[in-house]
């Protein structure tokens, strides 16, 4: 169990730092193309549909000719950040299972299922 907690701590810290770095890089890149644009968060308009799927997000980030590709890079960083807790719970579940703790492997699996439903439903 101690090795699992140590691994979890490392994954969580690394995941946070990596996603923060991608978000920061994406933000600077995005802002450099919008030096004169006025901010638009005063009125809620909803965000484009392509942010719903990671595959679409990646496609937009890589397609250099498309509007919004710089924002998509920020969004990929945000998405990685949001995946952090999911990975945390999945790892815990596998760790419990390998350690022979079926009760807590099942409990973690239930939490993971709720997260999956909320994300990909």
């Amino acid at each position: 169990m101690n090795r699992l907690t140590a691994l979890l701590a490392k994954v969580m810290l690394a995941g946070t730092l990596v996603s923060a770095a991608i978000i920061a890089a994406g933000l600077i890149w995005y802002l450099s193309a919008h030096l004169g644009t006025p901010p638009g968060d005063h009125i809620f308009a909803g965000e484009p549909k392509y942010y719903e799927s990671p595959v679409e997000m990646a496609r937009h980030a890589l397609a250099l000719d498309q509007i919004g590709h710089r924002r998509s890079l920020v969004m990929i960083g945000v998405f990685l950040l949001l995946l952090n807790p999911l990975i945390r719970v999945a790892l815990a579940s596998v760790g419990y299972l390998l350690g022979g703790d079926r009760l807590y492997a099942a409990i973690s699996a239930v939490v993971f299922a709720v997260l999956l439903v909320s994300f990909f439903w």
Binding site: F44, E47, E52, R71, L81, V111, F119
Partner: protein, 280 residues
């Protein structure tokens, strides 16, 4: 004002919110949303989306440190996460249909309760491991935490009431885009009688998982604007880190008092905003 200047201002405010949050023991999420709404005129939905992302960022960072120190109780955290994640999904589904002004009022009220809770006394009456709730025993919730005098064993009481209150904490988290750490701590500390140190550490582990359950719904409803999420999440994360460091060198009691008064004023303004009254 242009987008870059706006984002720098938002990042600075988020840094401040994260720092204050770390110092007075509230999360950054419950402080940054009113700042964005009242100070920057941002729509409540975008503000909640950005705040919830910042909650995930800070809780992952803080929880990593606690896990390493062996204070968190993974069993308690994971078991109660069933309640908080289901609650968070319910809360987020409610948030997308409720009227914005009603949400602002609920937010202000939750903020006032949070301040009251953080002023309240901690429960010192711990339970002996052998006197634990039988359900807690079969779930193997009682544990130990490290102290100066070696490991301390502790018991866990009232599992079912604690579980139900955790569901409510989850609903609030999804409904308002906050970590609802203060409510989680109450359920564990006051009701389940878990030692405060363990409670705080375990709640940090749970906050990120709970927030993740509602953020997927926020994402689908278009609440996450990357141009806003980025400065808020990075600002709060850096601020929380700085705040945790500053805790050892600043007059915490005085600052805590000042900030709690400020947060109370903000809460009242949120309620007034929701009711359509403009003050200050």
């Amino acid at each position: 004002m242009t987008q870059p200047l706006f984002d720098i201002a938002v990042a600075a405010a988020s840094f401040f919110a994260g720092m204050v949050g770390a110092m007075i023991g509230l999360g950054g999420g419950i402080i940054i949303t009113p700042l964005l709404v009242l100070g920057f005129g941002i729509d409540m939905r975008y503000a909640m989306g950005a705040a919830l992302c910042s909650v995930i960022a800070t809780s992952s960072g803080a929880a990593a440190a606690y896990l390493r120190d062996g204070i968190s109780n993974m069993q308690i955290g994971m078991f109660l996460c069933i309640a908080t994640t289901i609650g968070a999904v319910c809360g987020a589904m409610l948030a997308v249909v409720l009227d914005q002004s009603l949400l602002a009022i609920i937010f202000g009220a939750a903020l006032l309760v949070t301040v009251a809770l953080s002023l309240g006394k901690r429960s010192e009456a711990l339970v002996e491991p052998d006197d634990s709730d039988p359900l807690a025993k079969s779930l193997r919730l009682p544990g130990t935490f490290p102290s100066d005098r070696g490991p301390v064993r502790y018991g866990v009481a009232s599992v079912v009431p604690g579980f139900l209150i955790m569901w409510v904490a989850g609903v609030l988290s999804g409904l308002l885009g906050i970590g609802s750490g203060a409510f989680k701590v109450v359920a564990m500390d006051q009701i389940m009688r878990i030692p405060f140190k363990v409670t705080t550490a375990t709640s940090n582990f749970m906050i990120g998982v709970t927030a993740a359950a509602s953020v997927g719904i926020y994402l689908k409803k278009g609440y996450l604007d990357p141009a806003l999420v980025a400065p808020v999440a990075l600002g709060v994360l850096a601020g929380a880190f700085a705040g945790a460091r500053l805790l050892t060198v600043v007059p915490v009691k005085l600052l805590r008092g000042i900030f709690l008064v400020a947060v109370t004023v903000i809460a009242v303004q949120m309620i007034a905003r929701g009711m359509g009254i403009s003050i200050g």
